[in-house]
């Protein structure tokens, strides 16, 4: 079975059911076939440079600095992000379903990855630092419902549902991938000055440590009732 960008249909067939196997150490998966890492990296780089709205989805294993190697990997991901033209970073900070709905421009969640992909019209994305189970769920849902090209930089054995899946990826391999991206970028003649992606749109513009009720002027009584006043209903 060739694992190509979707939409695959109402309910996708898992590639594992159709005989796609995970690559052995030293190899990678490209469209469901086992190939050399270089070949897969080049294909991935080409997709990143030619498809619209390339986005990196870092997962909890990279976003949270729970040990030194996670922080190193985080640094490597930022270096990679700087080299991809017009790249965005949309984090996957956790796996639980968030009520009532995530802000699709601020995050992606494995219970509904389509929201983010379709809202931002993402056509190529990288998953890095996401636990394998949730990565598999997300990749399969994305392949079912969108035409996004997925690249999985897996720290363990890889993912059959991604178009490109590399295995045993740590900080060093991310930097190697970054070098391949730079190389392919030069070959395609795309000019790009390394620049960090724009920050998360949900971050507030005010500084809450110095903000006070008095800043609201006459509207402060909407936040704190007057003495003796009883507010029966609030919005």
């Amino acid at each position: 079975m060739k694992v190509v960008p979707g939409p695959a249909g109402y309910i996708p067939t898992p590639p594992a059911f159709e005989g796609v196997e995970l690559p052995p150490p030293g190899k990678a998966l490209l469209y469901g076939e086992i190939v050399d890492e270089e070949v897969a990296m080049r294909e991935a780089a080409k997709a990143l440079l030619t498809r619209r709205n390339p986005t990196i989805f870092p997962g909890p294993l990279v976003l949270w600095g729970w040990n030194a190697s996670a922080m190193e990997k985080a640094k490597a991901v930022l270096e990679l992000a700087m080299e991809i033209p017009n790249c965005r970073i949309i984090p996957m900070p956790d796996y639980r379903p968030k009520y009532p709905k995530i802000d699709p421009e601020a995050e992606i969640n494995p219970n509904h990855p389509n929201l983010t992909i379709l809202h931002n019209k993402i056509e190529v994305c990288i998953f890095v630092g996401v636990h394998c189970h949730y990565a598999n769920l997300s990749l399969r849902m994305i392949r079912a419902g969108t035409n996004c090209f997925t690249i999985a930089l897996c720290g363990e054995m890889g993912h059959e549902d991604a178009m490109v899946s590399l295995r045993d990826v740590h900080a060093e391999e991310i930097r190697r991938f970054k070098d391949v991206v730079v190389q392919v970028r030069e070959e395609l003649g795309i000019k790009w000055e390394p620049k960090l992606p724009p920050e998360n749109p949900s971050l507030p513009k005010e500084n809450w440590e110095t903000l006070s009720v008095l800043d609201y002027g006459e509207y402060s009584y909407l936040l704190i009732p007057r003495k003796g006043e009883y507010v029966p209903e609030s919005e």
């Binding site: 870092p58 990279v62 976003l63 949270w64 600095g65 729970w66 040990n67 996670a70 922080m71 985080a74 640094k75 930022l78 970073i89 984090p91 900070p93 639980r96 379903p97 968030k98 009520y99 009532p100 802000d103 601020a106 995050e107 992606p197 920050e199 998360n200 949900s202 971050l203 507030p204 809450w208 029966p232």
Partner: protein, 288 residues
């Protein structure tokens, strides 16, 4: 460790969504917050789909503000209404099959004790009356008989709320609910006495009307469970939907029940009593 896993990787602070940045900066991890300060720090619970007027939702908010070590606490829940709010909090939450909370907690606490014998890892079960005393009865009682060291909190709304309002073992006698069209035929089960007989070292019963008292009871239950044995809190958290209590009368109803069968009651073994006196004296000294 414990705190390291709620620290954002350097460089990613401006890529994380707002609620996580707030959680790390203004949240209660690594410090003691007072329940009276609610509104001045980032709470662990986020938006949840509980009904307007759900007393359980209020209790759960206070619970999360009262945790002594939220960065090393694991909450276990089961089917019911509480899990709707518990799953939206920044504390790991386990949801298994219905009624197995105390069995899962037994296994989890033992595994954590094997792996981290010198660290504090609090395991708290928050489940409803159906999950703990009806379907989970055997597992609940036996986890207490075995003296497993974790806290069980029963959020008692006297009905199976999440499935539409069926009678539960903890419903008062005579009340008419679904599956009891002629009224409940037997008395409300006395969970607190069962807990005492089964071997809990600290048992409390309360109607959550006083935030400071709720916070102190929860804190005591969790601290006692760290060293002495199972602890149990029976909290009256009404279901305003199934018992048709108007939203603005929910607190009044709780106060009324407090005067009737939910008067504040606390029981502990002598060991636990001495322990509390010691630590509460220490914290008074720190304050002074």
């Amino acid at each position: 460790m414990g705190l390291e896993y709620v620290r954002i990787s350097p460089g990613f602070e401006k890529y994380m969504p707002k609620d996580y940045v707030d959680l790390v900066q203004y949240g209660p991890f690594g410090r003691q917050v007072d329940v009276q300060q609610l509104g001045q720090f980032k709470e662990l619970v986020e938006e949840h789909p509980m009904c307007a007027g759900c007393f359980m939702a209020y209790f759960i908010r206070i619970f999360y503000a009262a945790l002594p070590n939220p960065e090393d606490t694991i909450v276990i829940g089961t089917a019911g209404c509480a899990r709707l709010a518990l799953s939206q909090a920044a504390v790991p939450f386990i949801y298994g099959n219905y009624g197995d909370t105390n069995a899962v907690a037994s296994g989890l606490k033992r595994a954590l004790t094997i792996r981290f014998p010198d660290k504090v890892k609090d395991v708290v079960v928050i489940a409803g009356d159906g999950g703990l005393i009806d379907i989970g009865f055997g597992m609940t009682m036996h986890s207490w008989f075995r003296k497993e060291k974790f806290t069980t909190i029963m959020v008692d709304n006297e009905v199976y709320g999440n499935t539409g309002g069926q009678e539960s073992g903890m419903s008062p006698k005579g009340v008419q609910l679904k599956m009891a069209p002629k009224g409940k035929q037997f008395d409300k089960i006395n969970a607190v006495e069962l807990a005492k007989v089964a071997g809990c070292v600290y048992v409390a019963k309360l109607a959550p009307t006083n935030p400071k008292r709720i916070a102190r009871t929860i804190r005591r239950a969790i601290l006692a469970a760290r060293h002495f044995g199972p602890t149990f809190i029976h909290a009256y958290t009404s279901c305003n939907i199934e018992y048709s209590i108007p939203t603005d009368k929910v607190l009044e109803d709780a106060r009324k029940r407090e005067k009737q069968d939910f008067a504040f009651y606390e029981w502990m073994t002598d060991e636990v009593k001495e322990y509390f006196e010691e630590i509460e004296k220490q914290s008074q000294e720190v304050k002074v």
